[in-house]
């Protein structure tokens, strides 16, 4: 391109021949950005077309300033702690920050209460919500843990796990009735009831339910998942049945989905946190 040629001509003499050692060291360091946990001298020399002596010297320079360090076998090298001290906000994925604008839009659209929940260990925890005014579905205690089989909202998250995990969870949670007093909504229910909810969510991609304990509260929930289908979080909209019934939900479905689409899209590209549900 003519523009870049002119720019190159106008620039002062490139100093590229004076700092070959620096370039070599940086080339060696860049090799550590790959998927390998550690690298050996021979491998690096082959990959970079350098002799082993050069690679040795480069690694010694990098190690002296903490950019690389010896791997567990003491002969190979891995990245050093120094790399992390180079400031960066490259790891700022935060499901709450990501979802917050959508929660606000959903609340503005529906006028109802909106919740964001995540799996923490073997429980669902609401980590954000916007409460509607007047007669409404109210938020539970800040940061309270609800077992994954108790309440339909929890089950909507449970349904995002795979069958083996759900089995392991249910085995560890037995007897399922032990939290019945705290969560009357799902009291007396069996493992089969849980599996039925799981099947329904997987079929429809969202879940609606009525809570008989809350004077006819009605909900719809949408999971946010990564590309593997692993759950990041659950977005729930809930309101009194007379205002937020099936007909109203059907009417709002398209605009609700449109609000969530960009969040779903973003969340898909970030791996969800691992979930460990076995044990009790």
């Amino acid at each position: 391109m003519a523009v870049s040629t002119n720019a190159a001509r106008a620039a002062p003499d490139p100093p590229r021949y004076r700092n070959q050692a620096a370039q070599r060291v940086l080339a060696v360091l860049s090799c550590f950005a790959g998927p390998e946990r550690d690298l050996g001298v021979t491998e690096l020399a082959l990959r970079l077309g350098m002799n082993k002596n050069m690679v040795h010297r480069a690694l010694a320079t990098l190690a002296a300033q903490g950019f690389v360090t010896r791997a567990p076998d003491r002969t190979r090298y891995q990245l050093g702690w120094r790399v992390l001290t180079l400031a960066g906000d490259d790891d700022a994925f935060d499901i709450r920050a990501l979802a917050r604008p959508a929660l606000e839009e959903l609340h503005a659209l529906t006028g109802e209460s909106v919740f964001l929940s995540i799996i923490v260990g073997r429980a669902r925890v609401n980590v954000d919500w916007i409460e509607a005014r007047g007669r409404r579905v109210s938020a539970s205690q800040r940061g309270r843990s609800v077992p994954l089989h108790c309440t339909t909202m929890s089950r909507a998250l449970l349904a995002c796990l795979d069958d083996r995990e759900i089995e392991a969870y249910l085995a560890g949670a037995a007897p399922l009735t032990r939290h019945d007093e705290t969560f009357p909504e799902t009291a007396g229910m069996t493992a089969q009831d849980v599996w039925d909810d799981v099947a329904r969510l997987r079929r429809e991609g969202f879940i609606t339910w009525r809570n008989p304990q809350q004077y006819g509260a009605n909900y719809i929930a949408f999971p946010l998942r990564d590309t593997q289908g692993r759950p990041h979080a659950l977005v729930t909209v809930g309101g009194p049945l007379e205002r937020f019934g099936p007909a109203r939900i059907a009417e709002l479905m398209a605009p609700m989905r449109a609000i969530l689409a960009p969040v779903e899209q973003h969340a898909r590209h970030v791996a969800a946190a691992p979930v460990v549900v076995e044990g009790s």
């Binding site: 050692a21 360091l29 860049s30 946990r37 980590v127 940061g143």
Partner: protein, 249 residues
């Protein structure tokens, strides 16, 4: 005398630590080298993608190669992912930013955070390395390590108090009489990390009186149970190094 390669790495550290883009003159002054020498280092760093020009100016910021290395190393701390939901829960329960600091020899490496719901924050950056003896997250760890840190003399009483209470506190500069609180994350009785609530959540004089303390402890204990049951999820890339061999400057 430092080699050109060593100098380039120093320049990279200097730009990495700066809060604004830096040019050759400022870097030269910071490192005691000429602007021309600084420029040669900057040029090598820019060519390799470690630095990038800030809005086509003669000043530099960190480039994509640094982000790639950071991601590569952070991916080797599974503890970040596995604790993320718990940090998020604690951040929401307390309203404040919550951080995870892992032990790195006699230093603490701040490796993950969950932002609180409060607007005001003064959190240090991820990757900040501090001696364990400095700061409450470090002291929460230091109270539960087998040997004495080289610079822990004079801390015996403070560390004993951490062990008794189960947490360390530090007065917050912007809210006198109030303190932030850090809990050790232990496996087999030894601290591998600390979880800190970084805002002024407790009364410095009587931190144990806080109503939510049992709730916070329960969240940290849930992480400890997980660390005990699934140690591989809590392994770090520097576990094989001897504590005395890790000497950040």
């Amino acid at each position: 005398m430092m080699s050109s390669a060593g100098r380039a790495l120093r320049i990279l550290e200097t730009v990495g630590a700066a809060e604004r883009p830096l040019g050759p003159t400022e870097i030269g002054q910071a490192l005691g080298i000429s602007a021309g020498t600084a420029f040669r280092g900057l040029d090598a760093l820019e060519r390799a993608g470690y630095l990038a020009r800030f809005q086509a100016s003669p000043k530099f910021v960190l480039g994509k190669s640094v982000a790639a290395l950071r991601q590569s190393l952070l991916a080797r701390f599974p503890i970040r992912d596995v604790t993320a939901p718990y940090l998020r829960q604690l951040a929401f329960a307390s309203g404040e930013t919550v951080s995870l600091t892992v032990r790195l020899g006699w230093y603490g490496l701040r490796i993950a955070t969950a932002a609180g719901t409060n607007e005001v924050t003064s959190a240090p950056p991820l990757g900040a390395v501090r001696p364990l003896a400095e700061g409450f997250a470090g002291r929460a760890i230091l109270a539960h390590v087998p040997a004495d840190a080289p610079d822990a003399q004079g801390l015996a009483r403070a560390l004993a108090e951490v062990r008794t209470r189960g947490f360390a506190t530090e007065e917050t500069a912007f809210a006198r009489g109030r303190a932030a609180i850090a809990f050790p994350l232990r496996r087999d009785g030894q601290a591998i990390a600390a979880i800190a609530i970084e805002g002024p959540v407790v009364d410095l004089g009587d931190p144990v009186a806080h109503d939510d303390l049992p709730r916070w402890r329960e969240i940290v204990h849930a992480v400890e149970r997980l660390a005990q049951a699934r140690p591989a999820l809590f392994a770090g890339p520097f576990d094989h190094l001897d504590a005395d061999d890790i000497v950040p400057e």
